[in-house]
């Protein structure tokens, strides 16, 4: 059995490798941020490398590695989906070079205070344009591959739609807005419509592809679910942006529309969990690598808990009035990003990287350690941030105690967070090491019963 059908799928390997290195860097900077909270640093150090710079690095590395994962993943699944090689391998490498070059320049720039000063969208305007160029090359490459393909599938269009939507929204974060409320209005067009819109579409497509390939479940069934899921993701997610508009000086109806639509947001995720579970049960092929399954099921459940339930809990306006902008948001942010997108990327990596090395069944002992340490570690971290957040909300917003006093009580919890973060880092290092040095298993893999669906 051929593991990869098209040579051009190999371009994704470098996307994955760089993404994994950036992931480790992101976690290290996260640990540094927790030290800032947990201890009092000397003024001289704060002047040179302030919290704001470290946070800009932590969040931008997150966006960078996840986007690299999505782009690499798209390049990996596109050729078999289209039954042809990528339109251009050279363009794919050029785009990677521009993207990584821009990211490195941005990181160095942050250290010297070169910033646009907008959280998560800190990179300065000239670099923004380079990112736009890279995104255009990416979309052109994907679109040309699809247009030139002999076969037409729903998944192709869903992927192209998702990545175009993603790139389009980025443009709204680039201008300078004079009015702060308008600034934040469009800031969320990038951030919210990414994570609760475009990224969900890409996720749903990639998960659908992997499930189809591994289980051998009929394409028609998988694509039907894909339509319903993405339809619901976008239906709830677009107006759901409103849950960020409660306190920015916007009309009253956002409370209702934002509240109701974001309360519905867990629905498509529940559907995704059910869908994944059904396909696993109805699979026609034997399980070759259980670890890939750990990641797919883990992704579905963690996505539901971290993004769905945790998000649901504090987007209702009467609750959000107290929890908005507190450590509870931090707890939700960590669980949601890890549950929905870090695990998705790791699922792609575990699906694609062994195949790119020609390994059908791999040794997964280390990988399982990595899986359990990171998933449990992040869950505990989410709880610790949650406790800090409940303390902060109660002291600051209910008892009306000053900000600093409320934060003093959190120092202990951030020391705990630092400890848990170290464990999490160990898990990440184990996972990345395992992915980089993956080896074939001595036990031969069982033969698949049916051909992977995309060959049809």
């Amino acid at each position: 059995m051929m593991l990869i059908e098209y040579q051009s799928q190999r371009v994704s390997l470098w996307y994955f490798r760089i993404a994994l290195v950036l992931f480790i860097l992101q976690v290290i900077l996260g640990l540094w941020l927790s030290i800032n909270y947990a201890f009092t640093l000397p003024q001289d150090l704060v002047n040179v490398f302030p919290f704001s710079t470290a946070r800009a690095l932590h969040t931008n590395l997150l966006v960078a590695w996840m986007l690299l994962g999505f782009m690499g993943g798209t390049y990996y699944i596109l050729p078999p989906e289209c039954a042809r090689d990528l339109y251009s391998e050279k363009l794919a490498y050029l785009q990677l070079a521009i993207f990584v070059g821009t990211a490195v320049t941005a990181v160095v720039g942050f250290l010297f205070g070169w910033t646009q000063g907008k959280p998560l969208l800190e990179i300065p305007l000239p670099l923004d344009w380079l990112i736009v160029v890279a995104a255009l090359i990416f979309i052109a490459n994907v679109a040309m591959t699809i247009i030139k393909a002999e076969v037409r599938t729903a998944l192709q269009w869903m992927l192209l739609g998702g990545v175009t939507f993603l790139a389009l929204m980025y443009l709204f974060g680039m201008p300078f807005y004079q009015n702060l409320n308008t600034d934040y209005y469009y800031w969320w067009w990038v951030i919210h419509l990414w994570v609760e819109g475009a990224w969900e579409v890409v996720t749903a497509s990639i998960v659908a592809y992997i499930i189809m390939r591994v289980t051998g479940v009929d394409r028609k069934v998988v694509e039907k679910w894909l339509y319903v899921e993405t339809g619901l993701f976008l239906f709830t997610g677009i107006v759901g942006t409103g849950h960020h508009y409660y306190w920015i000086g916007a009309p009253d109806y956002w409370l209702w529309w934002g509240g109701i639509f974001s309360a519905l947001e867990p629905l498509p995720i529940v559907l995704m969990v059910v869908d994944t579970w059904m396909h696993v049960r109805e699979r026609k092929n034997p399980i070759v690598n259980p670890l890939t399954w750990y990641y797919i099921i883990g992704l579905a459940i963690y996505h539901l808990v971290g993004a769905g339930l945790w998000g649901f809990m504090h987007t209702l306006p009467p609750i959000n009035y107290y929890t908005h902008g507190s450590q509870i948001t931090v707890s939700h942010g960590h669980l949601a990003f890890f549950g929905a997108y870090a695990l998705l990327n790791l699922t792609i990596f575990y699906f694609a990287m062994p195949r790119l090395k020609g390994i059908n069944k791999y040794q997964d002992r280390l990988g399982k350690w990595g899986f359990w340490i990171t998933t449990i570690g992040m869950f505990v971290l989410g709880l610790v941030f949650g406790i800090a957040g409940i303390l902060q909300t109660y002291l600051e917003r209910f008892l009306d105690i000053g900000y600093s006093t409320a934060h003093l009580t959190m120092m202990f919890w951030f020391r705990v967070a630092f400890g848990v973060g170290l464990v999490f880092l160990a898990g990440v290092i184990i996972t990345v090491y395992h992915l980089f040095t993956i080896k074939p298993s001595a036990i031969p893999a069982p033969e698949p019963v049916v051909a992977p669906a995309s060959d049809i």
Binding site: G113, E122, E223, Y227, I238, G249, P251, H324, S404
Partner: protein, 238 residues
């Protein structure tokens, strides 16, 4: 469910939501002048917003609840801290947070930039955002009360408004510059020297870290009387 139904769910769901959202966006722009008083959004305020971005304030501080969670929310900071305190903190964070467990970097913000930043924060404070954040509402109310009834100003209130950003008094205020009761018992200044000291500290005590206070001589007079009264009370009680 057929494939056709599934596609219908996708298109109806996505397009309805997008249509509602775009209409709301249009309406948001129509109503923004009312909620944010765009008539007061002048060049000084816009320059202040640029300063806010330039020093990446938003990656430690939240504003309107968004940004870094490392430092306090700045939405109503103008009411909470007042102009002078904001200026002192921005320009001398190392002095203001000398005893604090949490540090703010010395960013080298210029005098002009500080004034622009204050204008920006003043304008932001006026955004009508349903009284958020809840813990700052008392500062907003107190500020508005002081503004509407200057004749009813209580002396303690006035002193805390002017000096409470650095000094404590009866366990209120921020303890950077010391307790006013202790200071009152230590100083040897007469009324006029105290007034001069408040308006230009360097002219009375060169090298002192206290920044000049933007108070009128009348207000400084009331504060001076108040401080001196603290002193005499103590002496009588001895």
């Amino acid at each position: 469910m057929t494939g056709k139904t599934a596609r219908l769910i996708f298109w109806v769901g996505t397009l309805t939501s997008a249509a509602i959202f775009l209409w709301q966006t249009y309406d948001f722009h129509m109503q923004t002048p009312k909620f944010t008083h765009t008539d007061k959004l002048n060049e000084q305020v816009v320059a202040g917003k640029k300063v806010w971005h330039k020093y990446n304030c938003n990656d430690c501080h939240t504003i309107l609840g968004f940004g870094g969670y490392y430092a306090p929310d700045m939405t109503k900071a103008f009411y909470r801290l007042g102009e002078n305190n904001i200026a002192s903190i921005v320009q001398h964070p190392d002095v203001m947070y000398k005893n604090s467990f949490r540090k703010m970097p010395q960013l080298g913000v210029s005098e002009t930039e500080t004034r622009q930043l204050v204008s920006f924060l003043r304008w932001v404070g006026e955004i009508e955002n349903r009284k958020w954040p809840p813990q700052d509402e008392k500062f907003v109310e107190a500020y508005k009360l002081r503004e509407s009834q200057p004749q009813k100003l209580d002396k303690v209130h006035l002193v805390l408004q002017a000096c409470g950003g650095c000094h404590t008094f009866e366990n209120q205020g921020r303890n950077v510059g010391g307790d006013l009761t202790t200071i009152a018992n230590r100083i040897t200044y007469d009324r006029q020297t105290l007034i001069n000291y408040m308006i230009n500290p360097q002219s009375v005590r060169p090298g002192v870290t206290m920044p000049p206070q933007d108070v009128s001589p009348q207000t400084a007079g009331i504060i001076a009387d108040f401080l001196l009264s603290l002193k005499s009370n103590k002496e009588v009680s001895k």
